[in-house]
């Protein structure tokens, strides 16, 4: 009984306090979880801290599952008339959100001089996926690139320099041949390299096309170049790694089990997201290294990951509150903290100058590899009707990798399909 009374009194007191300030603006924040770690706890901590600095705004964080679950929830909620106010969704969802008229261009909300400086503070490689049609639609939040992880012990055993990762396509093949080990019956016990090809092969493939000097889509997401000669050449190399050079397993390599293959010593090199850094650090029982992507004509990787979007709302106070929260989540200190906690790349240069980040990068130098690679990074493939246009490329790649079709006709077909879908968006 006593406890109930105390709670009642506390409730009354807090109601009185809340009444003292102006009526609070409540905003909803959708966020997905795509990496390991106590993400909800970190987010709740940020929300609490934000509440202290902004007593007039109440943020309601909602964990919405995977990226795919989150976009489904956000789109469905928006169609039902109750959109989230701010959400973390894939940077490649931008065109879908714009085409359905669901998000506010952030440059129209962030108009003060300080706001304009804020918009310019992020790495240009990340902004490439956040801008279209002269507007900024997303703020980089949890972003990544592809890097290669290599097993130093396996390199040493194969007679290679354990501190030197393959730096070119030729070295990938040459090192791979030394690293691929076969037993007497011809069974492979260790592969030279694994580049995952399940689910979203286009993303890893885009690293190869970038290195070969091709750009897959234009900035406005209305045209793709799937059957460009350089893209065909990259696809042929992707397939050759397993069929011609025999340094990579045949067929589709599963994205989810690739890190496990690496830990088990089944592959000496793997390509995967920087988001796996903490996972590898905790699970690799051998000395490992992290390196930027190898080069052909150039180095480079597509970026990946999620942006903050502000949803349209008739209540302009909510949009302003959402902007305030987005700014809070992307200060140099928060960007550094989030990067250290999750393994994502801190999204702005000044975040790397904070004491916390400096200490982290000094203790664990691989953390800075992804950042250094940003100089050569390109926007992740993203167009109008994005998932359909990328699916045509995914299907072509899987057909090529499983031996169903040669590279040229498969990519010609993907190009025709994508052009047909994008015809509606040519102005």
């Amino acid at each position: 009984m006593n406890i109930t009374r105390i709670i009642a009194a506390a409730a009354l007191a807090s109601a009185a306090l809340a009444g003292g300030t102006a009526s609070a603006t409540e905003i909803t924040f959708y966020y997905p979880i795509a990496v390991g770690g106590p993400i909800p706890k970190i987010i709740d901590g940020y929300v609490e801290e934000f509440a202290k600095a902004h007593p007039d705004i109440t943020v309601k964080p909602v964990y919405t599952g995977s990226y795919q679950d989150s976009i489904v929830k956000a789109m469905t909620a928006a169609k039902a008339g109750t959109p989230p106010d701010v959400a973390v969704l894939l940077s490649t969802d931008m065109f879908s959100l714009v085409d359905d008229d669901l998000i506010e261009p952030i440059d129209t909300l962030a108009t003060s001089d300080a706001d304009k400086t804020w918009l310019k503070s992020f790495y240009p490689a990340f902004m490439a996926n956040s801008q279209a049609g002269g507007h900024t639609w997303g703020i980089p939040f949890q972003r990544s690139t592809i890097v290669q992880y290599w097993n130093k012990d396996a390199f040493k055993a194969a007679g290679l320099d354990p501190d030197k990762a393959p730096a070119s396509w030729d070295e990938m093949v040459a090192f791979g041949k030394k690293l691929t080990r076969r037993d007497a019956s011809g069974q492979v016990s260790q592969w030279g390299v694994e580049i995952p090809s399940s689910g979203f092969p286009y993303w890893l493939f885009q690293a190869l096309t970038t290195q070969n000097g091709a750009i897959l889509a234009n900035q406005d997401g209305t045209k793709v170049a799937y059957n460009d000669a350089k893209v065909v050449e990259a696809a042929q190399f992707f397939a050759d790694l397993s069929t011609k050079y025999e340094v990579m397993p045949k067929g589709i390599i599963d994205w989810g089990t690739t890190p496990k293959d690496f830990f088990e010593g089944k592959t000496a090199v793997m390509w995967t997201t920087t988001g796996n850094l903490t996972n590898v650090r905790n699970n690799a029982k051998f000395a490992f290294g992290v390196a930027p992507m190898p080069a052909k004509l150039r180095g480079g990787s597509p970026t990946g990951g999620g942006n903050l979007y502000i949803f349209k709302n008739k209540d302009k106070a909510k949009e302003a509150a959402a902007l305030e929260f987005a700014k809070f989540l992307t200060t140099p200190e928060k960007a550094a903290d989030w990067g250290i906690a999750t393994g994502y790349v801190a999204t702005r240069a000044d975040a790397w100058e904070t004491p916390a980040m400096k200490k982290y990068a000094a203790d664990f130098p691989p953390a800075a590899i992804a950042r250094d690679q940003l100089k050569e990074a390109v926007a992740e493939l993203s167009t109008h009707d994005n998932q359909r246009v990328t699916k045509s490329l995914n299907d072509a790649l899987q057909a090529i990798l499983t031996g169903g079709k040669p590279a040229q006709p498969a990519l010609d077909q993907a190009q025709a399909e994508a052009t047909r879908i994008l015809a509606a968006y040519q102005h």
Partner: protein, 314 residues
């Protein structure tokens, strides 16, 4: 109804003669009947019938974007479907899926039921063992099988390697991936269908078997002449269910392959999901759903009107 002696007697169940009592008792019994059925009718209508009808209507409209209204486009979605290679791939995959999983899982279920219906030691444990796959959620089962199928260190390949077979990339090859998914479905469904067969077998009168044995009938004759005809209604029920399930497969596709590689495991329902929630093309998804709905309705109607009549019910 019988218990309510305080209330006025319920009207007689025999229909009244023409011309008399057209309003009073006749109406009440209908109202009462409808009231009793109301909760079920409302739930079914709200969550099944209305959405189904709306889906059919939406399939004649283009997909709306933003606040713009969706224009009526008649049969355009269906015409696009005819030209859509992935749709045809999904249909082919689905038919193959049904063609193989239905007979195999029904046959295995019957064999298991015959086995655990006999008087053998450890029967209860065996029945439980057969039934366990059914209890697991599909996504959990799919994750277990994901581990079985992993190349090189997965269970299947470890066993294969012990016997000197080359490692197979079960889910990474267009030739093996669909059969690999079928195996999961069969594994999961056979135990469930076994329960129905077990119940049916226990309904067969033992004197039939005794008589057969006195006539010196072989075990095959006993099965073929007595057991098989008498469990026929169950077989039909199970086969129809298996067929409907084959068109409703989606969980393991999402959990194990995402429809790949190159659409080798894209089944109809998965494609509907992809078009609706990855491509956000609700109009086309509605048209695909309508096709799926018609196929399932056709199966159900076939059961009611044709096959039912040929089966001997006791």
């Amino acid at each position: 109804m019988n218990a309510s002696s305080q209330q006025p007697r319920p009207p007689p169940l025999t229909p009244p003669h023409k011309g008399e009592g057209k309003t009073g008792p006749d109406l009440t019994i209908h109202v009462r009947g409808w009231l009793l059925a109301l909760p079920a009718v409302v739930l079914l209508a709200a969550f099944t019938h209305v959405p189904a009808i709306r889906t059919i209507i939406e399939s004649f409209y283009a997909t709306p974007h933003g606040a713009r209204p969706a224009p009526f486009i008649g049969l355009a979605q269906y015409r696009a479907m005819l030209d859509d290679p992935i749709f045809w791939r999904a249909i082919t995959n689905n038919l193959l899926y049904a063609l193989i999983t239905v007979p195999v899982s029904v046959a295995i279920a019957l064999i298991m039921a015959l086995w655990v219906n006999g008087k053998i030691r450890g029967r209860a444990v065996l029945r439980l063992a057969f039934f366990i796959p059914t209890v697991l959620p599909m996504v959990a089962a799919a994750n277990i099988w994901l581990f079985f199928y992993t190349p090189d260190y997965g269970l299947l390949n470890q066993i294969g390697r012990a016997f000197g077979f080359a490692s197979i990339n079960w889910l990474g090859d267009t030739a093996t991936v669909l059969p690999a998914l079928m195996a999961v479905t069969i594994w999961k469904e056979a135990g469930f269908f076994m329960i129905f067969f077990l119940a049916a077998l226990q309904q067969v009168r033992p004197d039939l078997y005794e008589a057969a044995r006195m006539e010196n009938a072989s075990r095959w004759q006993i099965f073929w002449r007595i057991t098989w005809p008498l469990v026929m209604p169950t077989t039909l029920f199970v086969a129809i269910n298996a067929l409907i399930n084959a068109f409703r497969v989606v969980d393991q596709v999402i959990a194990m392959t995402g429809g790949g590689p190159n659409n080798a495991t894209t089944l109809l329902l998965f494609y509907v999901y992809q078009v609706a929630f990855s491509f956000w093309d609700s109009g086309y998804a509605a048209a695909l759903s309508t096709v799926l709905l018609s196929a399932l309705a056709a199966v159900a109607l076939a059961q009611f009107f044709f096959v039912d009549r040929r089966i001997h019910y006791r």
